[in-house]
């Protein structure tokens, strides 16, 4: 196992480390063939990119395009870029390269001319993106524009009608929108990284002059970290739930001892540090992270803080699971995972008490335990640095997740009172809508494919590019959405079928969100998939169940639906002679099978 020392790392050290990393030495890592295209020379980035990615066990084989050929390499289908067959393309443009007049003569431009020039660059990237997708379909990491090396008007710059800052803002905003509107393109936020590092430290004038390599060592480190984090978010599924201790974590002091008035929480130090942490936690909840409480306390004391403390921002309702009692915390976390129907390894534990943290590491090694610093001023940073909740995209479902879980707990109450499962399902008045997978749903599908563990038959973690390829090769996908009288669960399942040989298809992917398992939605999805496969001329279908540590809830799926075990590779077979009836305990609105 290669050990990467913390930054700062010298250039020689980095090169030596980078040279020791290879596919042969680290076969268990995730490997990417990365193409880097820049306005300037990008070779100096390589050892930085390789070392920062290695921290996350991601390996990079890098091809550097010739400087100043971003558009040329992308537009020409026979270019070196495409011959190199990359898994991802990183593009690092500079304003001086794309529009010298915007970079150097912006004082001479009218607002209309400025808009026109900005629009031209935006259109150029539109062409670049289209060409790369046509040429290879690989994901693009599109860098936005960093600050050029000088501004024209000194002290007057800020009050100009057209300032360099204004130009960059308008240009980068256009690129941001463009990236949002196209699938498989991520904005690579160089501008933000430059602001964090400081533009004064960003450039190395000497290297720019003698080697067209504009970046300082600090800038190279910043770019490499940004890339490593982006790639990490592609391969590491984000955690789902933050489990919080209460005393000395969400407020200062022990509420059971000092009482409601005695705890530190309010506008002055140290209460404001805890308040700040609460704000960050609430923002995480806005991102769809579930919150849970695990505290050794009298429940009444804690509830009183949430209901009656004048400064407390978190409320009892923000917590999707609440384990406040005197039992041990490993038991609490097990129960939280069970209540929320998520894996133990989706939990992140945040507790100021080192003894509790050690206990958790020993009892439940799958839980991510954050090393909480002594001062509450550093809590937010500790949470950020863990990258536990880092994700490459936030979907509508994410942001509503806490609401979805509240609906779910209302449903479980109905279930407890129902006489049979069948009655329960009928009482939900569920409507399941099935439709052909379309582009707009891609981000959510990629996310589900990347993180669904339990009801996932094949657990094939396709990237967006791989999914696009499956569809282009003649496959198709069906997505299932569900709503009922408690609310809209959104997109809850997806199935993808691909042709194998004439008349024989395979179910490449079949997965459901754990929220709806056991209500027959999976049967509706399978029935629809079978109809659509048949409409495409298939007479036989193979399903695959590939067992993992987690997907046993799906183990009997095919046998339950009349498939026969074909004996090899977890493949299950069915002849599509008869049309499978749709479940009648809910309404199904589906696509025409010829779709």
């Amino acid at each position: 196992m290669i050990q990467i020392p913390p930054t700062p790392l010298g250039r020689a050290e980095r090169s030596k480390l980078a040279a020791g990393i290879s596919r042969e030495q680290q076969p268990e890592w995730r490997w990417f063939r990365l193409a880097v295209l820049g306005s300037g020379t990008t070779e100096f980035l390589n050892s930085y990119l390789i070392v920062e990615a290695a921290r996350f066990e991601i390996g990079l084989e890098i091809w550097n395009g010739p400087y100043g050929q971003i558009e040329q390499q992308c537009i020409d289908p026979t270019s070196e870029l495409f011959r190199h067959q990359p898994d991802a393309v990183l593009i690092l443009p500079e304003l001086e390269d794309f529009s010298p007049s915007l970079a150097w003569r912006y004082l001479t431009l009218s607002p209309e001319e400025m808009e026109l020039a900005v629009g031209e660059i935006d259109k150029t990237f539109g062409r670049v993106i289209e060409a790369v997708h046509l040429g290879s379909g690989v994901p693009i990491l599109l860098g936005n524009f960093p600050m050029p090396s000088w501004k024209a008007a000194g002290a007057a710059e800020a009050s100009l009608a057209i300032s360099l800052e204004g130009i960059l803002h308008s240009l980068n905003e256009r690129l941001r929108r463009r990236c949002r509107s196209v699938s498989n393109v991520s904005l690579f936020d160089i501008y933000c990284t430059g602001c964090e590092i400081g533009w004064n430290k960003w450039r190395d004038r000497r290297m720019a002059a003698i080697a067209r390599a504009p970046h300082s060592s600090e800038a190279l480190t910043g770019i490499a970290r940004l890339l490593a984090r982006q790639l990490r978010s592609w391969v590491v599924p984000p955690k789902k739930c933050l489990v919080l201790d209460m005393d000395n974590t969400l407020w200062g002091g022990v509420v059971g001892e000092v009482g409601l008035e005695g705890i530190s929480l309010g506008p002055d130090y140290p209460g404001n540090a805890f308040l700040d942490f609460q704000r960050r936690v609430i923002a995480l909840r806005d991102c769809g992270i579930l919150l849970a409480a695990a505290s050794k306390n009298n429940p009444d004391d804690v509830e009183t803080v949430f209901s009656s403390h004048p400064s407390c921002l978190l409320t009892r309702d923000d917590f999707s699971a609440f384990e406040v009692h005197w039992e041990d915390k490993a038991t609490s976390l097990r129960r939280i995972a069970e209540t929320l129907n998520i894996g133990i390894d989706s939990l992140v534990f945040f507790d100021d008490n080192p003894v509790e943290r050690q206990w958790m590491r020993e009892q439940l090694p799958a839980v991510t335990v954050i090393e909480v610093p002594g001062s509450p001023l550093l809590y937010v940073e500790a949470l950020e640095n863990s990258l536990a909740f880092d994700t490459f995209s936030l979907t509508e479902e994410d942001r509503n997740r806490a609401v979805l879980y509240r609906q779910e707990s209302a449903r479980s109450q109905v279930l407890e009172g129902a006489s049979s499962l069948e009655d329960f399902i009928r009482s939900l008045e569920m409507v399941v809508t099935l439709s052909l997978l379309d582009d707009a749903q891609m981000p959510r599908i990629v996310q589900l494919v990347g993180k669904t563990n339990q009801f996932n038959l094949t657990t094939r973690r396709h990237s967006e590019a791989e999914l696009v390829k499956l569809l282009e090769a003649g496959g198709f996908g069906v997505v299932a959405k569900a709503r009922d009288r408690f609310g809209d669960s959104g997109l809850v399942g997806v199935a993808i079928a691909v042709p194998e040989t004439d008349g024989v298809w395979e179910v490449d992917t079949f997965l459901m969100s754990c929220r709806v398992i056991g209500r027959g939605v999976e049967t509706a999805l399978l029935a629809t998939l079978e109809r659509m496969v048949r409409a495409r001329g298939a007479s036989e279908l193979f399903g695959v169940y590939a067992p993992t540590a987690k997907n046993h809830p799906a183990a009997d799926f095919y046998s339950r639906h009349g498939y026969e075990n074909s004996g090899t590779g977890g493949r299950w077979h069915i002849c599509l002679d008869e049309t499978r009836p749709l479940p009648d305990s809910f309404t199904v609105s589906g696509p025409h099978p010829d779709l």
């Binding site: 090169s15 003698i210 390599a213």
Partner: protein
């Protein structure tokens, strides 16, 4: 740090950057004798020396550092002068 120490350190840096064993590096080693001493590796060497010895090179100087011997002379000059 003596001149010999500096020389040792230089060889370690070159070894790390050019991926060659230190004992294969001689006073006459240069971009002409080591295949891995590319123009990119050369500039990485310049930055690595600046980091290691807390000195800086002008653009002109970076181009003059063309053999191990010349680099050693330049290091002696810069560090003794400082």
């Amino acid at each position: 740090m003596t001149s010999d120490d500096r020389s040792q350190k230089l060889r370690h840096i070159i070894s790390a950057l050019m991926d060659v064993p230190t004992d294969e590096i001689t006073e006459d080693s240069s971009p002409d004798t080591l295949a891995s001493w590319s123009s990119v590796a050369h500039l990485n060497l310049v930055v690595a020396l600046e980091e290691a010895f807390n000195i800086s090179f002008s653009p002109e100087e970076t181009m003059e550092l063309s053999t191990v011997r010349l680099i050693e002379m330049m290091l002696d000059e810069k560090i003794v002068a400082a």
